[in-house]
Amino acid sequence: MDYKVFLISFELATSTTLVLGVVGIFIAYFLAFNKSILSDIIEPFIMSPLVLPPTVLGFYIIYIFGLGSPIGQFLNHLGIKLVFNFKGLLFGSIIYSMPFAVSPVLSGFRSVPKSIIEASYTLGKSKFYTLLKVIIPNSKYSIVSALVLVFAHTIGEFGVVLMVGGDIPDKTRTASIAIFDYVQELNYKDANITALILFGIAMSTLIFLQILKRLQER
């Protein structure tokens, strides 16, 4: 059995969670507090992976960032390749998991009472200081939920990672892809073990979120 697939999945999930932990907060902040039409245009794009088939997203990532496109050629010129390697896998995961990072944080930010944000402003504090000291601490459960969801979702990703990563052993082959490969090879034993481990991770995540919800209600 290929144990490296768990390491790649774990590395991918951790990196995606770390990147989206920061990026997701700023995007959610923009969407929650920017009243311009721009936020109305951006929000559907951010949320689109929720409804798009992963293959569509994976196809566009290959199409736009592959070596056949001007953007891909330009990035290649800079020494950046975003297809069929771990960087590409990470890039695809970030895009695909974006709504799972942004959505809970966005609803957390929107539920922070407007008056406490305004109180911080009238006390002379900047928008950034208010975000750090008032908005984020009062949305901490939403932020933790988002991070846990992104981690679990990335661990279980299949379509995008297959399209963008290309199922290269020891490089881009994740646990979820390995299950597919084991089944193709009729290796049900390894497929079963890998599936059980992913099932355990998914259930632990959901139980953790349930505990978090209880804590928040207290």
Partner: protein, 211 residues
């Protein structure tokens, strides 16, 4: 000297105050009193002019954001930060030393290590007033600041506000429903319905005419 001549979507507001003076705004609900306070603080759009100690906060070219207007704002819902203890709420825009001094002055030192959700409404209101004063504002703006206080505490806090306004020379504008609160605290009263600025004596006659 402070001069405000603004127009919100509700009414025109034209007043001048000297340092330490207190103005009460009187009027029925829904007439835009809170909006006026918010406009002065920079939380709502308004047209007109606000000049405080020769510093322009608002005119046709300038509109300072709330962060740049030196105000202490007491919100109707108190707006205390739930994630911070009482002492940290008050020290948010000042220092722990200043916060302790104000807590002592307001007789709420015993609350310093409690979180806002563990204290009563009246206590929260006192903390909100203390926080607004602790930041050393040029102008104290209060929206229904005594609604959750019992009579004895209310008088105590009102005396403290007068004392702080005289010591730290800030201007005070507040909104209240209770004629007694307006009478006790105000040097002037702005009657929204009549669009008139009344002196204390004129207000006394006015309130007698209401009874």
């Amino acid at each position: 000297m402070m001069e405000i001549s603004i127009e919100t979507r509700f009414f025109k507001f034209d007043i001048k105050l000297s340092k330490s003076q207190i103005l009460g705004i009187l009027g029925p609900s829904g007439i835009g009193k809170t909006t006026t306070l918010r406009a002065i603080a920079g939380l709502e759009d308004a047209k007109g002019k606000i000049v405080v100690d020769n510093e322009v906060w608002l005119d046709e070219n300038i509109s300072l954001p709330p962060q740049k207007r030196s105000v202490g704002f007491v919100f109707q819902d108190f707006a205390l930060f739930p994630n911070m203890k009482v002492i940290d709420n008050i020290a948010y825009a000042s220092s722990k030393e200043k916060a302790l001094e104000i807590l002592k002055a307001f007789n709420i030192e015993h609350l310093k290590d409690k979180y806002p959700n563990k204290i009563s409404g009246g206590e929260r209101q006192r903390v909100a007033i203390a926080r607004a004063i602790a930041r050393n504002p040029k102008m104290l703006l209060m929206d229904e600041p005594f609604s959750a206080l019992d009579r004895k505490t209310k008088h105590f806090i009102q005396d403290k506000i007068i004392e702080f306004a005289n010591t730290y020379k800030f201007y005070t504008i507040f909104v209240a429903h209770d004629l007694g609160d307006i009478f006790k605290l105000s040097d002037f009263v702005f009657s929204v319905e009549d669009q008139r600025l009344l002196s204390k004596e004129e207000f006394e006659e006015y309130s007698l005419s209401l009874t």
